[in-house]
């Protein structure tokens, strides 16, 4: 089948009661079989555009729409999600609300059953979708017992099982570890190439998906700011908003090597061509071993975990999630806790906070702890910031996160970053002698965050460490970890697999390595800035 799948012409949309439109004069045409990546900062209109492409906007959400829009040949002014459901699949940001059946098999069968598919074809489609997504072993499980990553794959399988012509995905890798995230992008590319499925993927972590894309559409303030090929997009992003560029693009830009490469493969070829040897040489490694956590040893303890065992029961009998884990963190250390989905990162943090009971061993934070959970909103229950944190200690906590001036604000009116800071202040308040507890933990703080906000958060974590707190952050985001962490603890199966400096852990590997480290091909530089500095030094040395 060929032709236009999505055809928007001067399409604008405003949510009910919203002050400003979320989409403004959008002109977009997507051809059958294209793989389009939707880029842009948070609140740029990406999710709304996806919701429009599946008919939820305006048919389900209401509001005012103007202009014309058609999807798979159906005019959206007359056709809503019910009419589009066989042709369009959506994987939303939060898979928890997208999964509606009690079992995984039931979830995958539901759309087929509603469409009246015969039993044999349903069974085959469920089998194929579950095998393609690697969830065949989950078919008999209750959807209530799945982890976030598993739930996301089930939501994707459910969207794909009816083989829609167009698949829309809203940050599908936000809850996936690097391995699962790469696998998902590979799978989408395969669906696109082998089944001809048109893919529109909204994503902040462009380094994961740009190489797979045919085209990038960048949005800003509800408008389409750029529409073109991935290589041209990187040039545009570097010139107009560097936070929208990939780490690799920033590396090459910083080293004065434009145009920026789209993939690690192209980058390696360019780097190999630019010098006689690989840049992955000993001098790069030697330069990198700077801020080792080892130098800090003996300065006291912010966290002491000793031979900790934690069991959880998801209704199918208890199983060990943390196994004989020991860990020590010193005051002022900034540590990233990494590992694949289900490795035990969140459970370890919950164990530290006393939310998960230890079967054996213990976790102790002698100078106090604070934990901000994955959804900071879970800590916000009142209608004024000042009501959340009354009294001098509360005010001190607000001042520590830079929100002393927001006491009269409604937490719902704060930006995402401010809400996260408020949650941190609530978690910290009164935990220590001063305003700061000895250990501050954050669980997956970058879900749904754009790169600019991640940098802002990294700066804030560094500030907390400077004030004397140890910071422990559970994250799947390798690039984010590279910007803030001086030490990385890699977990697997409830155990510590590796524990070392960020430069040691986040380079030299296949998955738990930054894009820059993979391009440079050796242990050492992991951030674009450091990599660019070294490339410039190397170029200068070559000229001499």
């Amino acid at each position: 089948m060929s032709g236009t799948v999505v055809d928007f012409s001067r399409f604008s949309y405003r949510y009910p009661g919203a002050a400003a439109p979320s989409l403004r004069d959008v002109d977009l045409r997507v051809a059958d079989g294209e793989f389009v990546v939707l880029a842009g900062r948070s609140a740029a209109g990406k999710s709304t555009l996806l919701r429009a492409a599946c008919g939820l906007v305006p048919h389900f959400h209401g509001g005012e729409a103007a202009g014309s829009a058609s999807v798979c040949g159906l005019d959206l002014s007359e056709n809503g999600p019910a009419e589009l459901h066989g042709a369009v699949g959506l994987v939303a940001q939060d898979p928890e609300t997208q999964v509606v059946a009690a079992t995984v098999r039931g979830e995958l069968e539901l759309p087929l059953e509603i469409a009246g598919e015969p039993a044999a074809s349903r069974a085959r489609a469920v089998e194929e979708a579950s095998l393609a997504l690697g969830i065949a072993h989950l078919l008999g499980r209750s959807t209530q017992t799945l982890s976030g990553g598993e739930l996301q794959r089930v939501a994707l399988a459910s969207a794909l099982v009816g083989r829609p012509r167009l698949v829309l995905l809203d940050e599908p890798t936000s809850q996936l570890d690097p391995v699962a995230g790469d696998e998902l992008i590979g799978l989408l590319r395969r669906l696109n190439e082998e089944w001809g499925t048109t893919i529109i993927l909204a994503e902040h972590r462009l380094e994961r998906c740009l190489a797979a894309a045919d085209r990038v559409v960048a949005m800003a303030e509800g408008r389409i700011a750029f529409d073109g090929e991935p290589a041209a997009y990187l040039d545009w992003a570097l010139d107009s908003d560097a936070a929208l560029a990939t780490p690799l693009a920033r590396l090459f830009d910083g080293a004065g090597m434009r145009p920026a490469p789209v993939s690690v493969k192209v980058a390696r070829a360019r780097l190999a061509g630019a010098s006689s040897g690989s840049p992955a040489s000993a001098d790069l490694v030697a330069h990198s071993a700077s801020n080792s956590a080892l130098a800090r040893k003996g300065e006291g303890e912010a966290l002491r975990v000793k031979r900790l065992w934690v069991e959880l029961d998801h209704g199918e009998g208890p199983h060990e999630v943390i196994r004989d884990l020991s860990l020590r963190i010193e005051p002022g250390e900034v540590v990233a806790l990494m590992g694949r989905n289900g490795a035990g990162k969140s459970t370890l943090l919950r164990g530290i906070a006393g939310l998960a009971d230890a079967r054996k061993g213990k976790a102790d934070a002698p100078a106090g702890w604070a934990l901000v959970p994955q959804a900071p909103g879970d800590l916000l229950v009142r209608e004024q910031v000042g009501d959340e944190l009354p009294g001098p200690e509360g005010q001190a906590a607000l001042a520590a996160v830079g929100l002393a001036g927001a006491v009269d604000a409604d937490p719902r009116d704060l930006s995402g970053g401010e809400r996260q800071r408020l949650a941190l202040a609530i978690a910290m308040a009164g935990r220590a002698e001063g305003a700061m507890p000895g250990l501050i933990c954050l669980d997956e703080p970058t879900r749904g965050m754009d790169t600019a906000r991640k940098h802002e958060l990294a700066g804030r974590l560094a500030d907390l460490a400077r004030m004397g707190s140890a910071v422990l952050v559970a994250t799947h985001d390798v690039e984010f970890a590279a910007t803030f962490a001086e030490r990385v603890v890699l977990m697997g199966e409830g155990e510590v697999l590796a524990d070392g400096t960020a430069e040691e852990i986040l380079s030299g590997g296949w998955y738990f390595a930054t894009e820059v480290a993979r391009a440079l091909g050796a242990g050492g530089p992991i951030t674009p800035e450091r990599g660019a500095e070294l490339l410039r030094e190397r170029a200068a040395a070559g000229e001499r």
Partner: protein
Amino acid sequence: MIAALTYVPRRTPMGRAGALAASAYLGAFVAVAFAFSHPVVLAADALAVVLAGLLAGTGRALAVSARFALWLGVLMIVTNAIASQRGETVLVRGPDLPVLGTVDVTAEAIAEGGILALRVAIVIAAFAVFTAAVDPDRVLRLLRPIARRSALTATLVVRLVPLAAADHARLRDGAALRGPAAAPVSRSSLVRRLVAGSLDRSVDAAAALELRGYAGTAPGRARKLPRSPVDAGFWFAAAAVWGLAAVCVGAGAVTYESYPGIELGLDPLGVALVLALPALAAIPHLVGGARR
């Protein structure tokens, strides 16, 4: 931690049984609770439901329902004792109140309250076992061709209950994570926050159903699920309980009156019902377990 009432696929015979067979089986014990007021029959019926729940692997759901039923039962007994002024055996001669008059507490009113409480406890326990052991997708699949809109509403509710339970667990954790100097979280503010969040959740879940085509095309024919080999045991038990109960009602084999004085009657057929209820509750599990 998964909420105790959440459905989890189980390898027990009831976990493997068809939704219709399991519904008929549990429904039979609920019917007995409504058909008879004799405390011995109700006690046997309660024992049967507890046995069914334990053999179905839903002990936690039973424990949760028992806690809830206990509080509700105490409330019902106290309310009936105060509100009902019938009965010959006055235990406490109460005060004269302006509107209610003399409030006496009688043994018969307490007994009647106890019967009501036991009946409600059986229904709650059976519902808990049903919720935890019977696949709601299968139940909704049965319902969908008959009552499409009701099935849609039920699907939404079935999905929202565990979502609300998960949200509640997270908010409770959030409350525990607040620093000592942060304002404490009252139960009312937690509930307010949960309700506000549930509205958003319900909109998202409804959107997901829309995208599955729930609102559009006519529902597909319910898939004819292969009959489970354990179904026969559950059908047999259901039929036997329904049949025996009908015979007992027809023959007047079980009688009970609370007022004006407590009168109990249980003839041999009634005794057979009392003995049969726990046995019939256990049979499909034992037969199904042996068949596996």
